[in-house]
């Protein structure tokens, strides 16, 4: 290394214990930022991976040149969803679908590992009985959304009833037999929705991270100010000063970025356990890939270096500007105007807005808060200093006025989290909207003409499986609804007004369960909503018995049908917790590092104050006030702004769950920042303890 580079390397190494501590703090900050940044990038890659792996199950129809017919339907076992893919090969020799080593022949089935395990665990009558085919292999991970996903791929003959049944319906429930040219498919709308949500979450996490990383860089520059101003005074050119600073900041940041990548690698097993979309993640999902990792590893030191240049501008422009502390120019009101401008855009958004637009507006709101923050902190400082009676508040207020940006850096993390919490807390729908639908009544649509036949066959199958149930047919017109009330015996009301009468044999059922006619027993009643595990088993036996009754259709309960909604709510909750956790980590680490850096920056003044008899308690109180006062104002303000931004997307009024999350956030935020500040009290003691270690 030569010239300025070599000198900055020597300065970094020769900075002494405290210099190294300062560099260490920056490296820690950068490491945490990098790890979380990789995480927020990986989240997108991970959801994209899921969407791609799932795509083959969303067949795209072709008119000619079809190599296979593919039908997909959802089945249910316990409270889980099984995706069943039926394939009929039209043209042998085509490439097999992902996860299969060859094209399935009629009568063969491939299980995903989790399904294979579950099929072994449960009695055959509850699950395995639905797949009488010969198990020919295991569906590979490349065809599974998550490791715990239940997937079955069956081979069918092209003319089998299931491959010819005309079933129309919601793509969420499956696809009718579709002629496909290959097994590429298309990402499902749900997978794309998850990707959009992940993108918003990334913005919510990444913006505070970038702000935090930049702040960390400027902190170290503040400490270098004096030394570099001295260098400038002895004649270093602006170019040399900038090169040295940037080099030093980037060396530190590069070390931090590498450490952060390693940290992320170590955290991956933990993060992979987060359940979204009904399951955890493959470890490989959370590996963002070499290009993204390299991009982050390169971007982080670059950003830190850039931030260092910005922070140094004053030193370079005027060597005396830093050496002599002068009243900084007042913050301009235009900062507030920027925030108001962004907020003015928010009401024009709505639930129909594109996810990208929402992400951009959210990002802008974030940046605008960050821009307005220092201005507000300055105002708070003037008020605090003006009204202060004791020395601690006076010191705090003057400090806020003197360097509102520094104070903002301490609280910005929590303020940003407040924004996120306000936004999400206001958005989360009430958790009691869903979840108490009837799980014990299975329904399947049947053609009116065959209603009687299906009813009779259903009764026979259920009887053979030993499942007590009342089977009815309701509805008018072409399609009728065959309803199976599991756990109930058919006492009365067997005939329906619709014409398709239930002509079954109730006596057979009663004989099978040994229960007297017309008597509703306790056991029967317990099969209603909220039943225990034994009843789940009975329902699964009923499902297994009814499997394949109507080709291409599955008997489902109301609870099954709302499973997706329940899952989505759960995922929103999980996502909220993840985003808030990340925000909090950033906030608390940022508060701690800022507090420590500010002590290091001002150690001479602190030491001389203590030497002149100023109690440390006063200094600590001042430090606390200088954090808490802006924290209270800015944290509260950000929550309100976050809620305001959420209003256009809000589907229901504020709910208790969201408010609880908010309250926890506020409490944790304050506790975390106070704790982080308090953690640096020993540092204050140590840097002021020995004012003159020199024997002179």
């Amino acid at each position: 290394m030569s010239g300025p580079l070599g000198l900055s390397w020597r300065l970094l190494r020769g900075g002494g214990r405290r210099g190294l501590l300062g560099a260490g703090l920056t490296a820690v900050a950068v490491a945490v930022s990098t790890a979380l940044l990789i995480f927020s990038v990986s989240a997108n890659v991970a959801f994209q991976g899921r969407a791609e792996r799932e795509a083959w199950r969303n067949p795209v129809a072709v008119g000619t040149a079809a190599v296979a017919v593919q039908a997909v339907h959802k089945d249910y076992v316990r409270d889980r969803t099984v995706t069943v893919v039926d394939l009929a090969v039209l043209k042998p020799g085509a490439a097999p679908p992902p996860g299969l080593d060859r094209l399935p022949a009629p009568g063969e089935v491939w299980f995903s590992p989790a399904l294979a395990e579950l099929a072994r665990e449960l009695p055959a009558g509850e699950l395995a009985g639905r797949f009488p085919e010969k198990v020919a292999g295991t569906v590979g991970d490349e065809a599974l959304v998550h490791p715990g996903e239940l997937v079955a791929v069956r081979g069918q003959a092209p003319d089998s009833p299931i491959m010819t049944a005309a079933v129309a319906g919601d793509p969420r429930d499956g696809f009718p037999p579709t002629r496909v040219a290959d097994f590429t498919g298309a990402p499902s709308p749900d997978a794309q929705a998850y990707q959009a949500l992940a993108l918003i979450a990334t913005v919510l996490m990444a913006v505070p991270l970038l702000v935090f990383g930049g702040a960390a860089a400027r902190l170290t520059v503040a400490r270098r100010d004096q030394r570099l101003a001295a260098l400038r005074l002895v004649g270093a050119t602006p170019g040399q000063v900038v090169t040295m600073t940037v080099a030093e900041a980037m060396i530190t940041a590069a070390a931090g970025a590498v450490a952060g990548t390693v940290l992320y690698g170590l955290l991956t097993p933990l993060l992979a356990g987060i359940e979204i979309g009904g399951g955890a993640w493959f470890a490989a999902d959370l590996w963002p890939g070499v290009p993204y990792t390299l991009a982050v590893l390169g971007a982080v030191p670059l950003l830190v270096g850039l931030s260092a240049v910005v922070g140094l501008r004053r030193v370079v422009v005027s060597p005396l500007g830093v050496a002599r502390r002068e009243t900084p120019p007042a913050m301009r009101f235009v900062r507030i105007v920027a925030l108001l401008a962004v907020l003015a855009v928010v009401p024009t958004l709505g639930a129909g807005s594109a996810a990208g637009v929402v992400a951009v507006v959210l990002g802008l709101a974030f940046l605008a808060i960050n821009l307005a923050g220092p201005w507000v902190v300055g105002v708070i400082g003037r008020i605090t200093a003006g009204t202060a009676r004791g020395p601690a508040r006076l010191l705090a207020g003057r400090r806020l006025v003197d360097d509102p940006k520094a104070a903002w850096r301490t609280v910005s993390g929590v303020a940003m989290t407040g924004f996120v919490a306000g936004f999400i807390g206001f958005l989360s729908p009430a958790s009691d909207l869903l979840g108490d639908a009837d799980p014990a009544t299975l329904r399947v649509t049947v053609p009116a003409a065959q209603a009687s036949r299906f009813t009779a066959e259903a009764r026979e199958r259920l009887t053979a499986a030993g499942v007590p149930a009342r089977v009815e047919v309701t509805g008018k017109g072409e399609d009728k609804l065959l309803t199976v009330e599991v756990g109930r015996t058919a006492g009365d009301g067997g005939t329906e007004s619709g014409g398709g009468s239930a002509t079954g044999k109730p006596a057979a059922e009663k004989a099978a369960t040994g229960k007297p006619t017309g008597e509703e027993t306790v056991a029967e009643k317990s099969a209603g909503p909220g039943t225990g595990r034994a009843d789940e088993a009975v329902i699964d036996r009923a499902r297994t018995a009814l499997d394949g009754l109507v080709p291409g259709r599955t008997a489902t309960s109301a609870a099954d049908e709302e499973r997706f909604g329940v899952l989505l709510l759960k995922d929103v909750g999980t996502g909220t917790v993840v985003v808030l956790t990340v925000s909090f980590l950033v906030a608390v680490v940022s508060a701690g590092i800022t507090a420590a850096s500010s002590i290091l920056d001002r150690r001479q003044t602190y030491a001389l104050l203590r030497l002149a008899g100023t109690p440390l308690e006063v200094l600590n109180r001042a430090r606390r006030a200088e954090t808490l006062v802006p924290l209270a104002v800015m944290g509260g303000g950000s929550i309100v702004i976050g809620m305001f931004c959420a209003v256009p997307f809000s589907i229901s009024s504020v709910n208790v769950g969201g408010m609880t999350i908010l309250l926890i956030c506020v409490t944790l935020g304050f506790a975390g920042v106070i704790g982080a500040g308090a953690a640096s009290a020993p540092l204050l003691r140590s840097v002021t303890a020995d004012p003159a270690p020199r024997p002179d």
Partner: protein, 266 residues
């Protein structure tokens, strides 16, 4: 010696294997200005720190008006420094974000004086110290000499018994340094406070009543523990420093010092 305010006996202080003080004794009289001189590494700053209750000597005693300072705990010594002592350092002791008047008022506020009263009393010092109109300026907007005068006001605002100054003119040019020393000596004496100045500059020492030379952790014979009979009869600096002071200030020296008292609190 009823007139003695501050006394140190047989002070010994070691830093690791380095002996900073090796049995030093020193007495400071009421209203007396004492210069502690010595080359770098002689132990003069350590002596000041021991006398001021900043560090505790390994052995020996420090008494302020008969009260043992070295035996006090950190909290008590901190309170003592805040109330009974004043400090002027080379630079950096003023809080950059506070206006000058609030820097001066701070020690009073730490002592429980209300903010309004503290600032009012602080302002009283600005005129007599030649700082009229500087009350609202921040340290960064003051010259080096002005900043030191603010520091002097801050040291004296609590009416301390002793003012300690560690190279108070070290960062100033010669003329400003002379002015600052004159004000420091006049102001402390005018307020019946004693002054202990650590310096390596003979011209600074000239302003004091008496000079104590420290070498290798010991006081040079004839300059130490014994206290001068009166404030104005100390050793002449030139007598043992051997320096002939050039560019001596154009006034009549310590004898003609005027009493500097704060205004506005009469």
């Amino acid at each position: 010696m009823t007139n003695v305010v501050l006394e140190g006996f047989d002070l010994v202080k070691r830093f690791g294997s380095t002996v900073a003080l090796d049995g030093v004794g020193l007495a400071v009289g009421r209203g007396e200005a004492v210069a502690i001189m010595g080359p770098s590494g002689s132990g003069k700053s350590t002596l000041l720190h021991c006398l001021a209750g900043i560090t505790r000597p390994d052995t020996g005693e420090v008494r302020l008006l008969g009260q043992r300072v070295d035996a006090m705990g950190e909290r008590q010594r901190s309170a003592l420094r805040r109330t009974r002592f004043g400090f002027v350092f080379q630079f950096g002791q003023l809080l950059p974000e506070l206006p000058a008047e609030e820097n001066v008022a701070l020690p009073l506020m730490l002592g429980g004086v209300s903010r309004g009263e503290a600032v009012r009393r602080a302002r009283g010092w600005f005129g007599p110290l030649g700082l009229g109109g500087m009350e609202g300026r921040r340290p960064g907007e003051l010259s080096g000499g002005q900043a030191q005068r603010v520091a002097i006001a801050r040291a004296l605002v609590t009416r301390p018994a002793v003012v300690f100054a560690d190279e108070p003119t070290g960062a100033l040019d010669q003329t400003t340094g002379h002015d600052t020393m004159r004000l420091l000596v006049e102001a402390t004496r005018g307020n019946d406070a004693s002054l202990v100045v650590v310096t390596h500059d003979p011209q600074v020492a000239r302003w004091c009543d008496r000079t104590v030379e420290v070498r290798d952790g010991r006081v040079l014979p004839g300059t130490g523990r014994g206290m001068a009979a009166g404030p104005y009869s100390g050793h002449d600096v030139q007598g043992h420093s051997g320096h002939d002071v050039q560019g001596r200030p154009g006034h009549d020296g310590p004898g003609s010092l005027t009493r500097i008292l704060p205004g506005g609190n009469g």
